[in-house]
Every structure is written in C-alpha cells, then in structure tokens.
C-alpha cells in the first residue's frame, strides 16, 4: 500500500469525509479564537461554556431543532449568568464560573434522564465525529463561517481589547461591547467544536493551539496564523491515526495537539538553555 493509498483510503467513506471536514474546521476556528483567549486569561471560560451548553443540546434534540441553536442559547445564557453572579456580589470569577457551569451541566444530565429521546450522552460528552450527518456538517460550516468572518473584521479591535482596554475606551471604542463580542464568538466556537470532540475536550482545542503558538512566536499577529496551521495539521494527523488504529477520533485529535505542545515546549526550553 503506497502512501497515497494510505492517505486516500479514509476518503472512500462518506462518514470519514464529513469527519475530516468537521474536525478540520473546528480545529481551525478554535485555534484562531484561542490566541485571544489565552492572552485575556479566559482559558477556563471555554470549559464553562462548553459544559453549560449540555441542556441546550438536549432540549434542541427533543424538540427536533438544530443542536447549534440550543447550544448557542445556553452558551450565551451561561456567559450572562456568570456575569450576573459575579457582578452582584463578592463572589470571585472562578467561583462564579464553577457554580454556573456545573449547575447547567447537571440540568443537562437531569434532562437527558427524564426527556424521552434517542440522545446518547457519550456522543455529547465525547463527540460523535464518525456519526455526524450532512446536516451536522452544514451547521458547523455556517457557524464557523460566521465566526471567521467576524474575526476577520474585528481582529485588531479584539487584540487592542485584550492588550489595553483602557486605551480602547479612551479612543471611543467600547471595551464592554468587545468583551461581549469575544464571549459571543467563544459560545459560537464551542458549538462548532462540540460535534468534533464533545463537551469535555472542547477546552483543549481552545487552549492548546494558542499557547503552542505563543511559545513559538512573540507576535499575536503571527500567532493567528501559526495556531490554526498547527491545529489543522494535528486534526489531520490525529484523524488518520485514529482511523488506522481504530482509536477515539476526538481523543486522538486532542492527544496529537497535546503531544505537539509538549514537543514544542521541550524544543524551545532546550534551545533556550543551550
């Protein structure tokens, strides 16, 4: 079997074509956003939002609505709720995040157990890459396009907001609106990644590419290319390995990202020490 055959074989199956498309798109969108998230210190916000969307996904399935819609409503709701819990009291942000996302996640678990449906919890928790339908792919495509287009127009504002919100305010921009924009993009991105790797591992795709790019380059403007490029390669590599080793697809993609991170860290450290 030649290398070409090895690379081409998975594409003989329609479900693998969809799996490759979804993983690639999700990885790239997550990687782009991760550049700002790791700099603004919102790594765990991604974890919170991804867990919080569970009830939304369950309700959407039960009603026969697009899962992206349910996820988006609850993702956005979680972000607002975190703001309310934090703003109106002396509760610190990490506690507010912890309370809101676990409560919503628990609500999702309860709903799954009482709402009669065909939902398989493990699919939501760990993704259902190989079982993705054409409709799932379309949802991912549309949401990813919205995120990437928005980023294309607002990337300089997002960078300024992350770097120096006071200056952004002084020149007439609204840091509050940019804050909301970044959170909104985060909620949308989680929806994209949900299908690929599931609730639990979304946070990995929202942190690892950004951090890996950060230790490779010292410009946010370059990170925005390096992170998606790395994440895209990891997605392809991870899926091929998972196909031929019959291992968890989402798990292998994240594992690949994690391995690349540690290799990069090691190389940078060794070169720094030399």
């Amino acid at each position: 079997m030649s290398l070409i055959d090895i690379l081409a074989e998975p594409f003989g199956y329609e479900f693998m074509q969809r799996a490759f498309a979804i993983t690639l798109i999700a990885s790239i969108v997550c990687a782009v956003l991760s550049c700002w998230l790791v700099l603004v210190g919102w790594s765990l916000m991604g974890d919170a939002v991804s867990h919080a969307v569970l009830p939304g996904v369950v309700i959407a399935y039960a009603l026969g609505a697009p899962f992206a819609l349910g996820a988006l409503i609850f993702g956005g709701g979680a972000v607002l709720l975190i703001g309310v819990v934090r703003g109106k009291s002396e509760i610190k942000e990490d506690a507010a995040i912890g309370i809101v996302f676990t409560t919503l996640f628990a609500l999702g678990l309860v709903l799954i157990s009482v709402v009669p449906s065909q939902i398989d919890l493990t699919h939501i928790l760990f993704g259902n890459l190989l079982g993705a339908s054409a409709i799932d792919l379309w949802q991912v495509l549309v949401v990813a396009a919205i995120v990437l287009l928005t980023v294309l127009f607002t990337k300089r504002d997002l960078t300024l907001f992350t770097f120096d919100p006071v200056h952004a305010h002084a020149i007439g921009l609204s840091p509050r609106r940019l804050n909301a924009l970044l959170l909104g993009l985060l909620a949308l991105t989680v929806v994209v990644a949900l299908q690929a790797v599931g609730v639990i591992l979304v946070v990995a795709m929202l942190i690892i590419p950004g951090v890996t790019a950060l230790i490779l380059t010292h410009r946010l403007s370059r990170m925005l290319w390096v992170a998606p490029l790395l994440a895209g390669c990891c997605a392809l590599l991870g899926l091929y390995i998972s196909y031929y080793s019959n291992a968890s697809a989402g798990g292998m993609v994240v594992l690949t990202q994690g391995m690349v991170f540690f290799v990069v860290l090691l190389v940078v450290r060794v070169r720094g020490a030399a």
């Binding site: 700099l39 294309l152 127009f153 607002t154 300089r156 504002d157 960078t159 300024l160 992350t162 770097f163 120096d164 006071v166 200056h167 952004a168 305010h169 002084a170 020149i171 007439g172 921009l173 950060l214 380059t217 010292h218 410009r219 946010l220 403007s221 990170m223």
Partner: protein, 253 residues
C-alpha cells in the same frame, strides 16, 4: 507640525465633581480648568484621587454629581473624537503581551479608522513621525517586553502623539524611568504643549516638575492650590497637600 484644530483657552472643565467608591470618597466637589498649550502638574499623596480625576476625564468613572466638559463637549463625545489620550502607569500594562512597538503605536490611530482599523499611508506616516519624535524608531520591531521602563513609556507617549489627541493625561510618567529617558520625555511634552496640546501629568517626583510645568495643582480630593510651580512647591503649600489626608475633615484617616 500637526494641525489639531487648536482651541484657544479652556479645554477641560470640571465643575463641582464628586466621585465615591462605595463609602470611600475619591473626589469631593472638585473644580478644575485645564488650558490648551499648557502643562499642568498634579501633585498629591497616594489615595488623594489623582487617578480618579484622570479616570473621570476619560469617562472611566462616572461622577456622582457635577459636570465635566471637554472642549465644550461631553466626555462621551470627546472620546468618540479620540480627543483624549491616556498614558497609564507602568503596572497597568501586560509587559509580556506579544505585540511590537510599532503595533502599539498604531493602535493610537484606531479611533480615526474604519471598522477593520486598517491603517492608510497617512496613518503609517503619523506613527512614524510619532516614533521618531520620542526616539524609539530603532525599536519599532521589538516586543514591548524587551524594552526598559523608560523606552516603554516613550512607546505609549508615541501612541498618544499618533492619536493626535488634544488632551494628554500622563499618570506617573517618570516612575521607573531612567534619567535620560526622563529628560527626553520632558522635552517631548514641552514641544507638544508648544503645539497647543493640553497636558496633565501626575507625579510623585516633584523635582521634575518646576522646569516642565506651567502650573502645578496640589490635590486632595479637590484642588487645594493652583499656581506657578515655584509657589506650589513651597514648603507651606506642600505641607498642606500632604497633610490633607490626615485632616479629619478630609474624610480619610
């Protein structure tokens, strides 16, 4: 050098402004007028409300009462026109942020640009001029984390210049700054005032003020004294400002 649509006379006017954070009073019935083309030094102890004064002019803090007018406009309108530039204290900036000197200076232009903030040739030219003026052109491709405290201050001053602001608020511009950077920063500030910019400088470093400022304001929740640097920095007046915080009437123990 640069047309700033010079407005003669008063560009910042506070009248009877009060600001409280919960039960802590930061500004109390404060009135102050700042003029175009003048450098004003703001001197006061820690907790005297110097930063709150600047934040109020920037619209970061909303007064509980009183009014602030900037060039005859509201603070919000002045912000929209990018009239006010703010150079924060060093601690307020994430020094490890992966951004170059040039990119920082370029953010000074954002207020005047379209939605994607793409710089036009004219904007690049203004950024280049601003960097030359503060003597950081040779550092333009460095990360801000690689700079000394004084170099970093000059970067943010260059950004304020690129912004073409009419009003510049400099919070402790000389703290953590070496002597030669201090001198060059002071020289740039003087030349900006010569072009009609209104500059407000808060400083602990009283020694740096006499040559630099046209006027010194001694501050504790409000202006205790306004006048020429020589008089303001007399022992008597300084003692008033620095003991104000101990005064039971001052509201803070």
């Amino acid at each position: 050098m640069v047309d700033r649509n010079l407005t003669p006379g008063n560009v910042v006017e506070l009248s009877r402004v009060s600001v409280s954070y919960g039960s802590v009073r930061a500004l109390s019935d404060a009135s102050l007028t700042l003029s175009a083309g003048r450098v004003t030094g703001l001197v006061g102890v820690n907790g005297s409300g110097k930063s709150t004064l600047m934040k109020s002019i920037l619209g970061l803090v909303m007064p509980n009462s009183g009014e602030i007018s900037i060039m005859g406009q509201s603070v919000a309108q002045a912000r929209k026109g990018a009239r006010i530039a703010y150079v924060a204290q060093s601690e307020a900036i994430d020094e490890s942020f992966p951004i170059s000197v040039r990119q920082v200076v370029e953010t000074g232009r954002y207020g005047a640009l379209g939605i994607t903030r793409r710089l036009k040739p004219r904007d690049h030219e203004l950024c280049g001029q601003a960097m030359s003026r503060t003597g950081i052109m040779h550092l333009s491709d460095r990360s801000i984390g690689e700079l000394s405290g004084g170099q970093r201050k000059r970067v943010f001053l260059a950004r304020a210049i690129a912004q073409q602001a009419n009003i510049m608020l400099l919070d402790e511009p000389f703290s953590g700054v070496d002597r030669s950077s201090q001198d060059s920063i002071a020289a740039v500030i003087r030349s900006l005032a010569g072009e009609g910019v209104c500059v407000l400088i808060s400083s602990h470093d009283i020694a740096s003020l006499p040559g630099l400022c046209d006027e010194v304001v001694l501050w504790y929740q409000r202006a205790l004294f306004v006048g020429p640097p020589g008089e303001a920095l007399s022992d008597h007046n300084l003692a008033r400002a620095f003991s104000a915080g101990l005064d039971p009437e001052g509201g803070e123990s």
